[in-house]
């Protein structure tokens, strides 16, 4: 006997279910198909190519009128079902009623619209159906039209790429730190962002939308950070939510989606559901593969055959022409997991496999994805890969490959990339000197090109260029790698950051072929410093790559409390400041107060939660952070100088304060301590500091590279200058040279010994232009560095750092 099947929703899931049904049991059901859109089933996932103009609507129609007629489907397109009457087994639409024996709900999902002001303005649209596509195509006709896409996930990026192809000026706003964060790790997200930016699409990550602006029609999008992007259209692609309204109204069991059994049956045995509107074992699906599985199971259930839907691993690919990315499974780190990372900087390739007990559990690929299906197949089957572990990452076709080439990063450099910054020598010049003059040793190359002949920090790179040019006949000296995440040494990394213009940690890790996905506690703080130093205006400090002291701006102590040292310029204080310190000590029961070796006052034993309040009180008395915790300028110690001392030759206190006020807040490779003494009796102990000044009648002797810690070493004399002005310029330029060249955690005395005192004298004292250039770069970077971190935190920055998130397990909490 023929049964009546009513289907609500004419999308891909129900379309596939009907195909299975008609094939397995032709004529068993008399089907009525309702669809909210005024058209039949089309391949919704191909809307991106339609939007891009690469396909037409006709190309993506899956079921045409003839197909529906052939299978006797009564089509009710453009007619919305408003109600299900389960008692009488009818569905209600536009005043008419349609009876059913079996009902299949396939209402799909609705785009999630973020609840901000202006979301209802004309010009704000979703990217869900053909009408949305038509509206976007229409908007793109206007020359110079601007589109803002909110959401940097799969759908948002497909829309952005397509609109760009249509000639629009496109900006993507993404809430998270990197694009497609649910499918990609930060490394692949970086490559994707770079590719999109290369196509002229602006990408703004960590973008929190505040409001959509416009008078009668959308005109711009405003972000919480104050940025405003003009827009003719705004496309919301932040996610979907299951469309469950009629199921809820009908009293079916609905959680996030319509809850179904393994057989796709809802809480009513005569009602089935498939597609994005359902929830199975707490999971809602949005990718097509599982939806097709549901369709197959639903068809079997309708004809009373056994079938069960099982949760499946899904793989993701982005449908943007020219972008290859692939992601599958679970690629989180874990202790019982290993990762294999392959990066090829010149080809823009990143591949990462996550293994657990010799089985692939996750895969992320960018740039080269042809092995995606092979990896995915092994992932699903749980194939043991122990046998091919060594060559697995190279893919199916490549079993038994050679080891990775350590010179690859240098090979990828263009000829005009600068290798030696001191002497302005580029890669091409070195290569041509080697080949034209038949050079075979480092000394020859230095003699002929001057590359690495000055500070020598680029020696490693010059040797790699030699190895590339001369082949295996040249064996460079071994370089101590930064850490186990890379084969490159600190100097190579610093040079390459400049030469390749790398401006984020993921960029460095990709382009320099890091062997881990997230770095380690050794390389991350170093990279963060190098980037802060090299790109003061462009680089956003990576807070999570800083050591705790620099993150909370205080010194962690052995018991987990902190010590607080306010800045006391030149070591000079007064009654009001001392009173404020005494009050803070009383108010917060600070157990210890100590005068430091740098002439400051240290309050020890402050609880982390108290830090913002301690700073607030100190701030009211005019104190700022003393940076006693920083790889940065710590203190300038002074004696009383000519103001008081009968031997003083100059105003040493005044100069010390001037230096400190000029240089505070700057980040350096390791801590920097300075001192100014008013005469050669040297009461400020300037001759064991990183930089010291000894005042004499004729001017100021500048000293540097002293040490009074692990090593004890008197300073070297840099030279004598006549004025305070000049003393400041020399000290600042010297510090900047150190900032730009030293390895992270390398104190000035070690750096200076490595590159030679004469070379430093040559660059800072003799070469006045170079000194001025160092000085200017320091001044520029100070524009971004001289912000008091304490007052920022008193105003609420990083407030999460200072408070526990929750309490658990106490009597009241356990009620």
């Amino acid at each position: 006997m023929t049964q009546k099947l009513v289907v609500v929703g004419a999308g891909m899931a129900s379309g596939r279910a009907l195909e299975h049904l008609f094939e397995a049991a032709p004529g068993a059901f008399e089907v009525t198909l309702f669809g909210a859109e005024p058209r039949g089933n089309y391949n919704r996932i191909m809307l991106s190519p339609v939007l891009a103009g690469e396909k037409s609507y006709g190309d993506i129609v899956t079921h045409d009128a003839a197909w529906y007629a052939e299978n006797g489907v009564a089509c009710r397109f453009g007619e919305t079902v408003t109600k299900i009457d389960r008692k009488r087994k009818v569905v209600v639409s536009k005043g008419s009623e349609t009876p059913y024996d079996k009902l299949l709900i396939a209402t799909g999902s609705a785009p999630f619209i973020i609840p901000v002001a202006g979301k209802d303005l004309p010009g704000v649209m979703a990217f869900r159906d053909l009408d949305d596509v038509n509206a976007m195509v229409e908007a793109a006709r206007k020359p110079g039209a601007k589109a803002v896409v909110i959401g940097g996930g799969l759908l948002g990026l497909e829309a952005a790429a397509a609109l760009k192809l249509r000639g629009m000026d496109v900006t993507v706003l993404h809430l998270m730190g990197h694009l497609m964060e649910r499918q990609l790790d930060p490394a692949a997200g970086y490559l994707l962002k770079k590719e999109l930016e290369g196509r002229g699409i602006k990408v703004h990550v960590k973008a929190q939308t505040k409001a959509i602006l416009g008078d009668g029609r959308v005109e711009a999008v405003a972000l919480e950070d104050g940025t405003i992007y003009p827009a003719d259209i705004v496309v919301m692609a932040v996610g979907i939510r299951p469309e469950t309204r009629i199921a809820v109204d009908a009293g079916l069991y609905v959680e996030r989606g319509i809850v179904v059994s393994d057989q796709m049956v809802t809480s009513d045995p005569d009602i089935l559901a498939v597609g994005e509107c359902v929830e199975h074992e707490n999971v809602c699906y949005g990718l097509v593969a599982p939806l097709y599985d549901m369709a197959r199971v639903a068809a079997k259930t309708l004809i009373k055959e056994d079938a069960a839907f099982r949760p499946v691993e899904t793989a993701t690919q982005l449908k943007v022409t020219g972008i290859n990315l692939y992601s599958a499974g679970d690629f989180a780190d874990g202790d019982d997991r290993e990762e294999i990372v392959l990066r090829d900087a010149s080809a823009g390739v990143y591949k990462r496999l996550v293994l657990k007990q010799n089985r692939i559990v996750g895969a992320v690929m960018y740039g080269e994805t042809s092995d995606g299906a092979w990896f995915f197949d092994m992932l699903r089957k749980g194939t043991d890969i122990a046998e091919m572990r060594e060559t697995l990452i190279f893919g199916q076709a490549y079993q038994g490959g050679s080891p990775l080439d350590p010179t690859a990063a240098v090979a990828a450099l263009p000829d005009d990339a600068e290798i030696c910054g001191c002497n302005g020598v580029c890669k091409g010049k070195i290569v041509s000197a080697i080949t034209s003059k038949g050079l075979t040793s480092l000394d020859d190359v230095r003699a002929h090109t001057k590359a690495s002949a000055s500070c020598g920090s680029c020696t490693g790179l010059v040797e790699q260029v030699m190895k590339l040019t001369l082949g295996d006949s040249y064996n460079p000296a071994a370089v101590q790698p930064m850490c186990t995440c890379t084969d490159l040494g600190h100097d190579d990394v610093r040079r390459l950051i400049k030469a390749k213009g790398l401006k984020t940690i993921p960029a460095v890790m990709q382009e320099l072929e890091w062997k881990t996905s997230c770095g380690c506690a050794k390389c991350r703080p170093a990279l963060n410093y190098y980037l802060v130093c090299d790109w003061p205006d462009e680089y956003a400090d990576d807070y999570q790559s800083r050591f705790i002291n620099e993150r909370v701006h205080a010194n962690i102590q052995k018991d987990g409390t902190y010590s607080v040292v306010p800045r006391m310029w030149g070591g000079v204080t007064n009654a009001a400041e001392l009173r404020a310190i005494a009050d803070v000590v009383d108010k917060f029961n600070i157990p210890a107060v100590k005068v430091t070796g740098g002439q400051r006052i240290d309050m020890l034993g402050v609880k982390k939660e108290d830090l913002p309040e301690v700073w607030a009180d100190l701030g009211k008395a005019g104190f700022v952070s003393g940076h006693a915790y920083a790889k940065g300028l710590r203190t300038v110690k002074t004696c009383v100088g000519s103001d008081w001392c009968r031997f003083g030759t100059q105003d040493s206190t005044g100069l010390g304060i001037r230096i400190e006020k000029f240089m505070w807040g700057s980040w350096t490779p390791a801590k920097v301590k300075m001192a100014v003494s008013g005469c050669p009796r040297n009461c400020a102990e300037a001759t064991c500091k990183d930089v010291g000044v000894i005042c004499v009648d004729s001017g100021f002797e500048i000293h540097f590279a002293g040490a009074a810690g692990l090593d004890i070493k008197g300073t070297e004399k840099l030279g004598l200058v006549a004025s305070e002005e000049e003393a400041l310029e020399v000290i600042v330029a010297l510090t900047q040279m150190y900032r730009e060249q030293a390895r992270y955690l390398e104190r000035i005395y070690k750096w200076a010994k490595r590159i030679g005192y004469d070379e430093i004298r040559r660059q800072i004292l003799d070469d006045k232009d170079r000194r001025k250039a160092y000085f200017d770069r320091f001044v520029f970077s100070q524009k971004f560095a001289q912000v008091d971190p304490w007052s920022e935190r008193v105003s609420g920055k990083d407030k999460h750092e200072f408070k526990p998130m929750a309490s658990v397990g106490f009597a009241e909490a356990a009620e």
């Binding site: 730190g177 964060e181 790790d185 930060p186 690629f331 989180a332 780190d333 874990g334 202790d335 019982d336 997991r337 881990t516 996905s517 997230c518 770095g519 380690c520 506690a521 991350r524 703080p525 807070y543 999570q544 790559s545 800083r546 050591f547 705790i548 002291n549 993150r551 909370v552 962690i556 052995k558 018991d559 987990g560 999460h800 526990p804 998130m805 929750a806 309490s807 658990v808 397990g809 106490f810 909490a813 356990a814």
Partner: protein, 116 residues
């Protein structure tokens, strides 16, 4: 019987960062990795008592801020040549919400009182 209580939301913890939860058995550090996995371990390094929540997070490991011991967030074991372990605590994710089993904490607290 498990008693899952919400301790916060994923967005409360920075990626590659940590927050603390106060409990009768001391602080527990809750970590969020770059891949948005969450883990909870005792906030006390077995070496010299360092607050692990203050360390640098890399992969599913944390480096102690006091003397650079590295611990697996998943197993709690010290990595490399160092020997020792911290206690781990189960967490559950429900969308954005992070849940901790309060009954496990209470059981541990009771065991400690009994031992004293």
């Amino acid at each position: 019987m498990s008693d899952w209580v919400e301790i916060g939301r994923l967005s409360d913890i920075p990626q590659r960062g940590a927050r603390c939860v106060d409990t009768p058995i001391g602080r527990i550090a809750v970590f969020r990795t770059a891949a948005d996995e969450v883990y909870a371990i005792e906030d006390r390094c077995p070496h010299k008592g360092g607050p692990l929540s203050q360390g640098i997070v890399h992969g599913a490991q944390v480096t102690c801020p006091l003397h650079n011991w590295v611990f697996s967030l998943e197993t709690g074991f010290a990595q490399g040549a160092d020997e020792g372990a911290v206690r781990t605590f189960a967490l559950k994710r429900d969308g954005e919400r992070i849940l901790m089993d309060a009954s496990a904490i209470l059981a541990a607290a009771a065991a400690r009182i009994a031992a004293e």
